[in-house]
């Protein structure tokens, strides 16, 4: 029996129409607001004789930073890269240490030993409840009141040397042959994967312990060892990378813009195709998915051509007439799309479409047209992408220079020497932990560790009691119980919240600005103080932090998916 067709309500009482009208009104209002504010800010900039530009990326900065990689060449881009490296250095080392420390304290918090338990509790309650910034500034104040350097400190030290200028420790630095050696290590990692599988295969077949993990680690070590001596073999990669860079630079910019266009059109077509496939309520359609895809991609291109043609022809129109005729063009396109959907739908679907579905498809096409308009409108986008890709390969190529036959690493002992205008300094040849790095690193690590400890404690408590009791019944020692029963299960529970803490740590490194640590925020601030280019710098910050957050959370999500129990 066919479902009785309801009479369609008039548009001003149709809930779907009203909902979409409200949504589109809010969207248009927001766009209007942003355009107004943006135009106003451009005006205000122009009043100061400035325009938004990213030229500072290639201009010399004229400042020196106390921290990190050398500023060569002296450009804004290199300075921001320096800040980025510093941020990542603190993030990665902080994550490693905070995880270890946090786990230890979290387990100590559960200890039956009264005094250990109390120490862990006091640590957590103190560190967690004091703002991180206060702690960072405190550590900065502590290190600044250490001993000042004098002539009698000049010399080389065996372990480390602390002073108000920072802490210097022995370290292995990458040397000229490092990148060739790295290729060996990467090959080692790939080989280790196969070795691991092979050993696991034997284990499953024969049921004996095959030490798969030790074998895999051994493979990497062997590859590294071979690479230590054989790394000049990969010098030829330099030429190849150079050629790739040249090849990319030879691509005309129009190709990139066309690729972007194709990408958007394909994306919208694919979305609509999937949307129709999701709606399909029966089988034996007269039209396949590919035809739907093609039809709507073509419709998008036609819409694009019509709007573009209108904009090209409407040069003489202004104000009211322009908006009215643009509205008419859009209305015609929308009506055309509606007929297209009406024509396609019965040939792919069994059940009918509701109003909401029309709106979704039309909105997708509209968003596609707008996006392409923006992408095509920005002329520099093709060249920027080509330049960046080519610069990347040209940057890598000299690292594989065949004349670089020195060892992959260089050992540097902690040293105090006299430099510049006769000032006693910690030698830059060795690894120097500056006061800013120390304060930020200690602050961020201790702070995050206290949160991780609470998460670990919660995770351990969440492991069912029966597991502990079963372990006790088997006569496992407390260490064995934790190592083999409780912690592996707790790990699954705590991974998502700990991932959140990693993200917080990553973002909290921006507080280094308070102790003059040159992270990306401080470098950016230095640059806009000199050039006045606030908005471009802020946009780079946002791009960096959003990308970083995205990468970190995808790593955590990936690990989470791999570790999740397969449930019935």
């Amino acid at each position: 029996m066919a479902i009785e067709q309801h009479q369609r309500p008039p548009n001003w009482r149709n809930a779907t129409v009203l909902k979409w009208a409200a949504q589109i009104a809010v969207l248009v209002g927001l766009v209007f607001l942003f355009v107004t504010l943006g135009a106003q800010s451009l005006d205000n900039f122009a009043d100061r004789g400035l325009t938004y530009s990213y030229k500072f990326l290639s201009d010399p900065t004229g400042v020196s930073f106390r921290e990190g990689i050398p500023l060569e060449p002296d450009t804004g881009a290199r300075a921001l890269y320096l800040g980025l490296v510093n941020t990542l250095r603190i993030t990665i080392s902080g994550i490693v240490v905070a995880t270890i420390l946090g786990t230890i304290i979290g387990v100590a918090r559960l200890s039956h030993n009264w005094i250990i338990n109390k120490i862990a509790t006091v640590y957590i309650e103190i560190i967690r409840n004091i703002p991180l910034l206060v702690q960072i500034i405190f550590w900065g104040a502590i290190i600044q009141q250490l001993k000042a350097l004098t002539d009698e400190h000049i010399g080389t030290y065996a372990f480390w040397f602390t002073s108000a200028k920072g802490i210097t420790v022995p370290w292995l630095f990458p040397d000229q042959g490092f990148y060739q050696w790295l290729v060996f290590v990467i090959i080692g990692f790939i080989a280790a994967r196969f070795v691991y599988r092979w050993r696991m295969h034997i284990k499953e077949d024969e049921g004996r312990e095959t030490y798969a993990i030790s074998w895999a680690v051994g493979t990497i070590l062997v590859a590294g060892l071979i690479g230590w001596f054989a790394h000049p073999l990969f010098a030829f990669l330099g030429g190849i990378l150079n050629a790739i860079g040249d090849g990319i630079a030879a691509i005309p910019a129009i190709v990139i813009r066309l690729m972007l266009l194709v990408l958007v059109v394909a994306g919208v077509g694919w979305w609509i195709m999937r949307f129709f496939r999701g709606l399909r309520a029966g089988d034996a359609p007269q039209m396949n998915n590919r035809a739907v895809f093609g039809l709507f991609a073509a419709a998008l291109l036609i819409a694009l051509a019509v709007v573009g043609g209108f904009l090209a022809l409407a040069g003489g129109l202004e104000g009211g007439p322009f908006w009215l005729s643009l509205g008419a063009v859009i209305a015609v396109l929308v009506v055309g799309l509606k007929y297209l959907i009406d024509w396609v739908a019965p040939r792919t679907l069994v059940s009918g479409l509701v109003d909401d579905d029309y709106f979704r498809v039309i909105f997708a096409v509209g968003a596609g047209v707008t996006l392409i308009g923006i992408l095509v409108g920005i002329e520099a986008i093709g060249e920027t992408i080509i330049n960046a890709a080519s610069a990347f390969f040209h940057f890598l190529a000299p690292k594989f220079d065949s004349t670089n036959v020195a060892a992959p690493f260089r050992y540097a002992p902690p040293t105090v020497d006299v430099r510049g205008a006769g000032f006693v300094q910690l030698s830059q040849e060795s690894l120097v932990i500056t006061p800013g790095f120390f304060a930020l690193w200690v602050g961020v690590t201790l702070y995050t560790a206290s949160f991780i400890a609470e998460i670990v404690r919660g995770g351990v408590l969440a492991v069912s009691r029966g597991q502990t009791e079963a372990g006790n019944a088997l006569g496992l020692s407390r260490f064995q119980l934790y190592r083999f029963i409780v912690l592996p299960q707790a790990f699954r529970i705590v991974l998502p919240p700990i991932g959140n803490q990693y993200l917080n740590l990553f973002k909290n490194t921006s507080l280094g600005i308070a102790v003059a640590f040159s992270d990306i925020v401080m470098v950016g601030q230095t640059i806009y103080n000199q050039t006045g280019q606030t908005v471009p710098v802020v946009s780079l910050w946002m791009a960096f932090y959003l990308t970083g957050s995205l990468i970190l959370s995808s790593i955590v999500n990936f690990a989470n998916r791999r570790l999740k129990l397969v449930e019935r």
């Binding site: 909902k19 949504q23 589109i24 809010v26 969207l27 927001l30 504010l37 106003q40 800010s41 005006d43 205000n44 900039f45 009043d47 200890s111 039956h112 030993n113 009264w114 005094i115 250990i116 109390k118 120490i119 309650e125 103190i126 967690r128 409840n129 004091i130 703002p131 991180l132 910034l133 206060v134 702690q135 500034i137 405190f138 104040a141 502590i142 009141q145 979704r360 909105f363 407390r478 973002k507 909290n508 921006s510 507080l511 600005i513 308070a514 925020v521 601030q525 806009y528 606030t534 908005v535 802020v538 910050w541 946002m542 932090y545 959003l546 957050s549 995205l550």
Partner: protein, 598 residues
Amino acid sequence: MADGKIILPDLPAAEIAPEPPPKGAVVWMKDNLFSTPFSVVLTIVGVLLAAASIRGFFGFLVNPERIWQAVTTNLRLLMVQAYPDQHMWRVWTAVGAVVVLTTLSLAVWRVGGRTSANKLTTSAMGVGGFLLAAGLLADFPASMRLTWAAVGAGVVGVAYLVRRMMGDRAKVDNIPSLAVAAGLAIGAVASLWVLQVPVPDPETGIRAATVEPLANTTRLPWLWILIAGFVGYGLGTRVRGLRLMRPLLVGAWALSYPVIFLHLLRGVNFRSVGEYALYGVAFAVVGGVIIYALVNLNLGETGRLISGALLVAALAAWAFPTLIVVRLLLLVLAAFALAAPTFGGSGGNKWRYVLIYLGAVLVIVYLMLLAVGTSVVQTQSAVPFGGFMVTWLLAIGAVALSFPIGVTLALARTSTLPIFRVLATIYIEVVRGVPLITWLLMSVVVFPFLFPEGVEFEDVVKVLLFFTFFSAAYLAENVRGGLQAVSKGQNEASNALGMSTVQRTAFITLPQALRAVIPALVGQVIATFKDTSLVAIVGLFDILLIAKNVVPNQSQPFNFLGSIKENLVFVALVYWIFTYVFSRLSQRIEKNLGVGER
């Protein structure tokens, strides 16, 4: 069974549980410190670690290089910056008002459980033990060492004796926790009259010339506040039977923020009261009539048309030069008109709805009067907020203002409307993906550029705005968690009853969702409270910036140069006390609500 009775089989009389073995100190130590060889090693390591920490901590405190006078002479600077002398009563009144409101609420909601002498003596013994350990271990001068050790031993001894004398009665929960808190408050205020600190001499500039009570100027106000607090509690116990008491108190708490920060502490000099009152009365009368008419459900389509017209008028008012108060009042009127069929109903509800509208008009006129009024409290900056005061201004303001935004965002993110969902998701993820300090820097260097010349904001306002938007994104995620925890059956049931989307959200979904996220919301308050310290980086003189940059650079009349560590320790202590109390509070709430257990 036919008559509905359930007959239980005869059970054997339960055996009386054997008395637990006596637990002496030796048994306790054997269980908790020396149970296994590994535990013995841990105990030794732990004792050494604890001893070294206590020694190091107190060594840091009593080191002769420490300049604690930098903190004690600058207490007022740290708390309220340069708030003028003759206006200090405003600060005290504000603190007193909050204390009275708190004690009133404690009485009206009958908060507070009971605790046992056993638990109290255990705490006292912990404190005494700590004092004793500090006295013995720390690097104190001999006389001080003796005092600390004696006091510590005395406290432990008294607590132990009390427990022994009370015997089994000590285990009964019969002491009201509030009485304990009151005792502590009395003790704290009394200590202001007793404790003495060295005071530097302004004539000679020598650090420790004379010894005076710590709180010469503040002990009297604190005493009054203490008394007011007790009076408030007494009053609360009298009036807690009244029906309207709880809604009134909730309203008072909601209004306390603008009244305290915008009115009392700013010392508003009201302007153009007559004009605003006129608008207020006009909107109250005309709007009241319209709302009363619209609450009538029989109106049907006409009501919708009227409220639609009001909405259009309210939006149009923003496009034409109109007084802001009129724009706001129109918006409120339109919102109330649109929601009238949802909240109206019958009988008393109608009048209640109109009354709420009138209250809203009154509040808006009052807030606008505050906004246009000038301040009589003259300081260097246009806004007389500084020091710890600014921390509270930002923390409470950001959370309170971000609440409606956050709830809206959460609803948008979980809604079925795709554009709203995408917009809310983008907003939340972008705000959360970028660190707070970047947003604060933006509020200072980018935000002012977005407005035409002549439109200027105070630094505090800019920072508060960005704090609000930042906090809203995090709050939205918390609320979203609560929304997703509401079971689907609830939605289906409300649909079956024929509720509209608005009714379902307002009466079914949100109350349950918000109840489930109260602990997370308190966590949000704590996080925001700690985050306010970041304003020091953008140059707002909060307690941290004063402690870090102002006090350590004072050389006249006293030489406090380089006293940064002392100040930071003090700031850390201040922050710690409040965050610790808050987090304890949130644990208590979580337990009382039983959120995690259902």
